[in-house]
Amino acid sequence: MLPLEKVKVLSFGTGGVVPDAGKIFGELGADVIKIESKDNLDFMRTIGPDINNIAGFNEANRSKRSFGVNLKTDLGKGLVRKLIKRTDILLENFRGGVMKSLGFDYERVRKLNPKIIYVSSQGFGGGGPYSDVQAYGPMLSSASGMLSIWSQPDDPYPVGSNSPLPDHMASKHAVIAALAALDYRRRTGKGQFIDMAQTEVAVSLIGEHFLDYTFNKRVAKPVGNRSQYAAPHGCYACKGYDEWCAIAVFTDDEWDGFCKALGNPAWTREAKFSNLQGRLKNVNELDEHIRAWTSTLDAYVVMETLQASGVAAGVVQRAPDTLADPQLKWFGSVIELEHSAAGPRLYPGVPFKMSGASPGQSTPAPLLGQHTEEICRDILKMSEEKIKQLITEDVLHTPANTQSTGKGMFG
């Protein structure tokens, strides 16, 4: 059994946040339909030569059906309105104002379906001067204060990461909000509108720094990997090119384990390192000693040696490490799916276990318009002739008539 069986989700998403949220709903058993159009592609379909064979798109859009429709036509809009009427949760993250210009803003959608839960996820959120700004993960960390403290203290300026954090934290928040609204609707019969700001998700992840400002009038500066309550606490270069092991020592017991793992060399017995205060005060010298030890060893040897002594240590890992990770193999965390355009490829599974359900029975991402005909037939109850006619008239898009126009949303 799946937790969200019979829940119907309609997704007007693009990029990372809403597609990932829709994927999570799909893995939890909801029927998720992605509204797509060949003339206005999800930009993730446009970052490579084949719209159906893009890793990021095919990850973010698993466990969904694709309904290809021309939203510039009244007929196309009419079909989407019919789908809205049977929808429990509508997700959207178009640039602010786009849903309104399409005629699918909350005010109009609720007239079609008063019980609908409508989650609008804008970069900066609605109701302010920046509500129509297009959102990208790297913008959100920049505009939220997060990037301003995301660097080593001696970096010239912060560059954060090329991973679009916090996009995939925002997607989880969108799911949580929709599930809470679903629970409220179950109890009261009432739908509602949820306006989520992705910048505010970033802020909530670093709330303590905002309290440091509102309580202490201090504007946080980057501290890199240093901690005020652990030392050593950082990544230490190991043998080889760009190989690192992260080490975190909090308690004196862990420090004893750390020293033992190194074979209790003389420097570890110096009084200045014997407690946390001393280790924090002399942290540069401490780090020098540790680097001298790690630089001669394979990062995995460092991790195993320290873990065997009860010290938190982990290799700074890359994708191939994830595939080889014994714990993830034990859980079966990585799954393989056969996609008709991309072939057999690996994807992350659902990272939690439920005793009463088996989420994660994932299906591969749809080709553009892969389920258009099926949805017309089974849900919209249209005749075969009518479906064929609308395909010919370019109202409906199917894989057969969706050779990319190369026009992409941003291309």
């Binding site: 990461s161 934290m169 982990g314």
Partner: protein, 356 residues
């Protein structure tokens, strides 16, 4: 855990604690005592959800594992969060936010090329676990409305950070892996070249120009300097390959404008340009004010201050911080006496026996 209000180390003044425990009530209970266990069982009988983050086997060794608790309340949903999970070869390993972030695959992409990979601010690995636990719990609650039964949820920081913080890492690699082809390059620290950060008149901006159209818009934002109109620059891969040269060229133009001028011109022309706001800038931003994002909370010990609110606005059920984070044991009397029916005398006895 620091930082503290007024920099005074005190168990009620940790800012991390105040932020993450707002909205809760708090009681103390020593569940390692016989009486403590039976009190917990009484609480479990009335609970919808029990969340714990004790080490593997801890609850089971106390006789408080899910099968036992479910007998008392078959509707109970129990979510247990551990560093590496309740089974498997890493079950007894030590984790931490830093270590789990290192193993997430995101850290190797964070910071400057060649330098020490950099931790993302906050506790991203722990937040990955709490967000996934939240999704699992809400799903189990939804399921319970039809089945009438609770269930057990097992969440590990390691797995959620690895698969959830940036789920595209494994697919990106897998799609680049082709039989007979060269081994794919793995992700590394490319933030500075893919999403470059430039100085401007009054601070820094970050530019997200990936497509040719976005690049053209960026050139227009900078008043179309001739040197940027060379056709090669329109190619993303060319820009990545010549990132240092491009950076040197761009400096001359970006510094003519303010953060907000570039942000707004980017919006107008169609290229995402973000101002790099610091904590104070975000707090004072007109958009933040318009959304009334920060909410004042009054805490009995540390007083009034603005807190970050929930990151969403709801039309029917406005979410809010309804109470400050609890002081240690603040609601003992309210919960033990008013809700479980212990007399004040009994509470005193429980307190002196160090059970609460």
């Amino acid at each position: 855990m620091p930082p503290f209000v007024d920099d005074i180390p005190h168990p009620e003044k940790s800012l991390y604690f105040l932020h993450r425990n707002a909205g809760k009530r708090g009681i103390t209970l020593n569940i390692e005592t016989t009486d403590g266990k039976s009190i917990l069982k009484r609480l479990v009988k009335k609970a919808d959800v029990l969340i714990d983050n004790s080490p593997p086997d801890y609850m089971a060794n106390l006789g408080l594992d899910y099968p036992v608790l479910k007998k008392l309340n078959h509707k109970l949903i129990m979510a247990s969060i551990t560093e590496f999970g309740h089974s498997g070869p890493y079950k007894n390993r030590k984790g931490s936010n830093l270590v789990d972030f290192a193993m997430s695959g995101v850290m190797i992409t964070s910071g400057y090329p060649g330098k020490e990979p950099c931790l993302c601010p906050g506790t991203p690995a722990y937040d990955a676990a709490s967000l996934h636990a939240n999704i699992a719990i809400m799903s189990a609650l939804y399921m319970r409305s039809t089945t009438g039964e609770g269930q057990y949820i097992d969440v590990s920081v390691h797995e959620t950070a690895r698969l959830g913080l940036y789920p595209w890492i494994v697919p990106n690699y897998s799609y680049a892996l082709n039989p007979g082809g060269p081994p794919p390059t793995t992700e590394t620290r490319m933030g500075a070249s893919i999403y470059p950060v430039y100085p401007c008149k009054d601070g820094l901006i970050r530019v997200i120009a990936l497509t040719p159209r976005q690049w053209d818009a960026l050139v227009r934002v900078l008043d179309s300097p001739e040197v940027l109109q060379m056709p090669d620059w329109r190619s993303f891969m060319y820009r990545i390959g010549n990132a240092d040269d491009l950076y040197a060229l761009m400096l001359e133009f970006t510094q003519k404008y303010t953060m907000i001028e570039l942000f707004e011109a980017g919006k107008r022309e169609g290229v995402p340009i973000a101002p790099i706001l610091n904590i104070e800038d975000f707090y004072n931003s007109p958009h933040t004010k318009a959304r009334e994002y920060f909410v004042e909370v009054d805490h009995p010990l540390v007083g009034k201050a603005d807190y970050p609110g929930p990151p969403y606005k709801w039309s029917e059920t406005p979410a809010a911080i309804v109470r400050p984070s609890p002081c240690l044991g603040e609601h003992n009397e309210e919960i033990y006496c008013k809700e479980l029916g212990y007399s004040k005398k009994e509470l005193v006895a429980l307190r002196s026996a160090r059970i609460v």
